[in-house]
Symmetry: C4
Subunit: 312 residues, 4 copies
C-alpha cells in the first residue's frame, strides 16, 4: 500500500477541476485510495445513523425520540466529513456525487467508484448494526422480522413512506428534500459568498442534515440519498425480512433511488442560477473594480486564499 502515497495531490487537483496527466498506475491507486475513504466515511455515517434508529425503535422511547434520529444522522454525517473530507470529499450520497459530476466538480469516470464505495460502506454498516443490535431487535419483535405492523423493524435500515403518502407525493418529497440539501451545500462551500467557517464544515453540513430531518422528514423518512437507502434495503431482504422490503409502501423502494439525483441537480442549479452566476469573476475583480475601491476587495481575496482547499 506504500505506493498510494505519491498520488495524494491528484485528488485535490481533480476536485478543483485541474487536469494533470500522470502515469496510469497513479490513477489506479488514487481510485483505490478515494474509494477506501469514501467507503469508510459512508460506513461511519451509516453506523451512527442506523444505530440511532435501532436505539429509538427497540428502546420504545426510553433511549431517545425522533430528535435522536435526526441527531444521529446529522452528527454521523459530520464525522463522515471529518473522515473522508480531504480525500474523497465525503459525499456519502450518490445524489451528491451525481450533482458534482453534472456541474463539473467531479469527473464522470469517478462516479462509479463513488457509488460502489458508498454501496459497500452502507451495506457493511447495515450488517454491523444488525449484529450489534441483534439481541435488542429480536427481544423487541420476538424474533419476528416484519416490514409493517406495530413491531416492524425494517424501518431501522431503510426508509418507508407514511401511510397517507402517494408515490407521486413521495417522489416530490424526495426531489424537494434533496434539492434543499444540495442548494445549501452549494452555499456552504461557495467561497465568494458566506461559506462555512474553515474547519467548521463538518458540523455545518451536520446541522443541515439535522435541519432537513426536523423540517422535511415526516413524509418518508428523508432518505434523500440513493446509496444510503438501497444497500440496507437489500441487506434486510437477505437477512430475514424478505421481499416485503421491496413491496411495502406500494413499491416505494425505487423512489429514493430516482428522485434524489433529480432533486440534487435542481437544487444546486437553482443556487447557481440565482446566486453563484452573479458573483464577479476574480479576473474582472482584479482588473476593474479593485482600482476603484482597492481596500474593499482585499478581504475577499484573502478569504479566497485561506479557504481555497476547503471542499465540503
Amino acid at each position: 500500500m506504500k505506493d498510494f502515497v505519491e498520488s495524494v495531490e491528484l485528488g485535490v487537483s481533480q476536485r478543483e477541476g485541474v487536469n494533470i496527466t500522470q502515469p496510469k498506475v497513479w490513477i489506479k491507486n488514487e481510485l483505490v485510495r478515494v474509494g477506501l475513504a469514501e467507503s469508510l466515511c459512508t460506513y461511519v455515517m451509516m453506523v451512527f445513523g442506523l444505530g440511532s434508529v435501532a436505539q429509538v425503535v427497540t428502546g420504545e422511547g426510553a433511549f431517545g425520540q425522533y430528535l435522536s434520529i435526526n441527531l444521529g444522522f446529522a452528527l454521523g454525517v459530520a464525522m463522515g466529513v471529518h473522515i473522508g473530507g480531504k480525500i474523497s470529499g465525503a459525499h456519502m450520497n450518490a445524489a451528491v456525487s451525481f450533482t458534482m459530476c453534472t456541474f463539473g466538480r467531479l469527473a464522470w469516470k469517478m462516479f462509479p467508484v463513488y457509488v460502489f464505495s458508498q454501496l459497500l460502506g452502507s451495506f457493511l454498516a447495515a450488517g454491523t448494526i444488525y449484529a450489534v443490535y441483534y439481541e435488542a431487535i429480536h427481544d423487541y419483535c420476538g424474533g419476528n422480522l416484519t416490514v409493517t405492523g406495530v413491531k416492524a423493524t425494517a424501518g431501522i435500515f431503510a426508509t418507508y413512506p407514511a401511510p397517507y403518502l402517494s408515490l407521486l407525493g413521495g417522489f416530490i418529497d424526495q426531489v424537494f428534500g434533496t434539492a434543499m440539501l444540495l442548494l445549501c451545500l452549494m452555499a456552504l462551500s461557495d467561497q465568494k459568498n458566506k461559506p462555512a467557517a474553515v474547519g467548521g464544515e463538518p458540523v455545518a453540513v451536520g446541522l443541515l442534515v439535522l435541519l432537513i430531518g426536523i423540517s422535511l422528514g415526516s413524509n418518508s423518512g428523508y432518505a434523500i440519498n440513493p446509496t444510503r437507502d438501497i444497500a440496507p434495503r437489500v441487506f434486510t431482504a437477505i437477512a430475514g425480512w424478505g421481499a416485503d422490503v421491496f413491496r411495502s409502501g406500494n413499491g416505494w423502494w425505487w423512489v429514493p433511488l430516482v428522485a434524489p439525483p433529480i432533486g440534487g441537480v435542481l437544487g444546486a442549479g437553482l443556487y447557481k442560477a440565482l446566486v453563484e452566476m452573479h458573483h464577479q469573476p476574480l479576473s474582472e475583480q482584479g482588473r476593474g473594480v479593485m482600482q476603484e475601491s482597492e481596500e474593499e476587495s482585499t478581504p475577499l481575496e484573502k478569504q479566497k486564499t485561506i479557504c481555497a482547499d476547503v471542499c465540503v
Copy 2:
C-alpha cells in the same frame, strides 16, 4: 444575466455606507441581484421553518415537539445567512431591513426591494410547504382546513396568539421580542465588541433565533418579522383557509406587521445608546491612546481588519 457581474462591489459599498456614483444600469442590476439573493434566502429559511411546524402539527408529536420548531426556524435562519450573507446581508425580515435603514446601514431606496423580495420568498415557501405536506395536512385534518379548533392547521403557516393574550399584550410581546432580536444582532456584528466568530455568524444568528423561540415564543409564536408572517397568511387565505386567517385572534394579523419594526429600532437603539456610542472612535484611537499603550490596541486593529467585511 452576465452583466450583473460587474456590480458586485456596489452591494458591499452600500452596506458600509460608502456612496459610489455608478451608471444607472449597474444600480438596476444590483437591485435584481440583491433581490434574487434576498428572495432565495428568505425562501430557504421559510421552507425549513414552516416545514418544521407542519411536521410537528401533522405528526401529532411523533416527529418532533415544540423544540423542533425552534430548531427549524433557528437553523433555517442560519442556512439563509449562508445563502444571502455576502450579497444581500440576508435580512429575511422587514423589521431588520427597517432598522438597518433607520440607522443608516441600508439605503432607504433599497427598502422596497428587500420587502418585496422577502414577501416573494416567504409566499413561495408557504406554497411549497403546502405542496410537500399536502397529503399530510389533508390526512391530519380530514380535508377540513380550519384556523381554530383541535385540528386547526393555519398555524403551520402564520402565527396566532394564545387564547389568553390581548391585542395590547401581543403588541408588547412582538415589540419586545423584536427588540431583543435586533439588540443582540447589533452586538453579534459589532466589531469593536465581542462579535460572532468569523465564519460563525450564521450559526450565531441561528442560536439567537433559537433562544427567542425558547424564551419569548409562547405568547404569540414569535413572528418578530412582518414579511415572515403576512405572506403565508395571505397564502392560506387564498389556498382554502379563507378570511378567518385575518379575523382570528381578534384581528391579530396586523400586530406582527406593525410591532416588529418599532421593536427593532428600539432594541438596536438601546444597544447603541448603552454600548456602541461609548466605543472609542478609530481616529481617536489612532491619534491619542495608541501612543500611550501601543501594543494593547493592536489586537483591536487586527480584529477590525479581519472582520471588516463581515455583516450579519
Copy 3:
C-alpha cells in the same frame, strides 16, 4: 455621553492588571461605561433565562420542558457575553466578580460597580418578564400569585430548593455548582492551556452553563449566582408574591447569596493549584527552554499573541 469615548482603553488595561494613572474624570466615566455594559448584558441574560422558565411553567409543557430552561440560561449567557464581553467582561454574576477580584483579575474598587449593575439588570429583567408574561401568568394561576403549591409561579423568577433538600445540602450544592462553573471558566480562558476558540468564547461559556443545568440543576435550580437570584426575589416580594419568597424553603433565600462566592473561589483556586501554577512562566520559556527546542514553543507564543485580549 460623548466624553465617555476617550476612556475605552482603561477597561482593557484594568482587566489585564496594568495600572495607568489618568485624570479623575476618565475613571468616573469608565465606571459608568462598564456599569452600563454590565447592566445590559445581565439584563439580556436574565430576560432570556427567566423568559424560558415562564414559558415552560405557564405553557405546562406545551412550549418546552426542563431542557428549554437549561438552553434559555445557556444561550442567554452566550448573548450576554457577546454584549458585554469587551467592555465589562460580562460577568453577570457577583460570584464571578468576587472570584476575579480575589485572584487579582479585577480591582476590588470595581466590585460594587459590578454588583450594583448586575442587580439593576437582573431586577429590570424580572420586571420585564413579568410584564411580557403578565397575561400568561395570571391565566395560568388564576391571578393567585403563590410561592408553593401546584400552581406556584414564584419559581419563574428566583430559585427554590427541592422538597427533600436541607439547608446544609443546598449550601453544598451551591458551593459545588459554582466551584465547577469557575473551575471551567478558568480553563476556558487559560491561554497557556486549551482555551475556547477565538470568537467562540460566548458559546463555550453558554455550553458550560447548559452543562451545569443538565448535571447539577435538580437540587435547587442552579442559581450559582447571587445577583441573578436576589434581585428577581425582591421583585416578586414587591410585585405580589409577598414575604413568602423569603420564608419558603426554610428560609432558602440567603443560600444563593453566600454559597456561590465561596464556591467560586474554591473552584478557581483548585484549577490554579492543579493546573495553572504548573505552566511555565513566559520569561522562563523565553530564556531557557526555547534555546533547546525553539520551534515547539513558537505555537504557544503565537497563540498568546492572538488571544491576549480575550477575556471571558
Copy 4:
C-alpha cells in the same frame, strides 16, 4: 510546586514522540504535573456525566431525559479537554491511553500514570456526586440502595447491561463502541485530513461522545472506558450497594474493562489502514510534488504549522 515549572515542554515533546534526555527530577515532576491534570479533567468529566444521570434518575423525568445524559457526558468530555488538553492530552479513558501507547503516541511508561490518575479522578467524582445528590438519592429510593429493581440507583454510577443482552453481545457492543470512538478521534486529530477546527477540538470530541450515546448507547450504557466504569463501581460497592454491583448483569463488571482497549486499537488501526497510511509523507511532499504544483501544497503546509501543537 514551583519546580514543576521548568518541565513544561517535556510533555509536548513526549506526545510528539520526540525523545529528549533530561535530568531525572524533571521526569518525576512531569509525571506529577501530567497526573494532576489528567485527574482533574477526568474528575470534571465524571462529575458532570454522573451528575446528569443522578438528575434524570432521581428526578423521574422532570429534570431531563435520556438525551440529558448523552449531553452530560458529551459536554463533560468537552470541558475535560479544555482542562487537561495541553498538559495531559485529556484522555480521561484508559482505552484511549492504551491505544495511544499502542500506536506510539504515548510512552508506555506513562500508561500507569494515566490509568492511576483516571481512576483517582473517577473515584473522587463518584464520591462527590453521591455527596451532592445524597438527599436526592435517599429521598428517591427511600434509603434502600439497590442495583436492580424499579428504584435501582447503582446505574447512576456504573453501567449495567439491558436485560436481553448476553455477555458476548455486550462484549461486541463495547468493542464496537470504543472502536468507533477511536476511529473518529484519529480523524478529528489527523492534520493531513479534515481535522476539528483549531480551538474547536473540545466541542468536536464532545459531539462524538454525544453521537455514540445517541447511536450505540442502549445495549449497555456506552461505558467504552474502563476507568470511567470501574472506579464508580468500586465506590458503590463500598458506599452501600454491596457486592451486587459486581454480580449484576451476569457478572458484567469486567466487560467494560477488557473490551474497550481491544476496540480502541481496532478502530484506530482501521482508520490508519484505510486512510492515514495513504497520506503523502511530508518529506515526499516537500521534495517531489511541490515542484510540480507548489501553490496546491501550500495550504496543507500552512495548516500543519497552525495545528502542530493540537493534540486531542
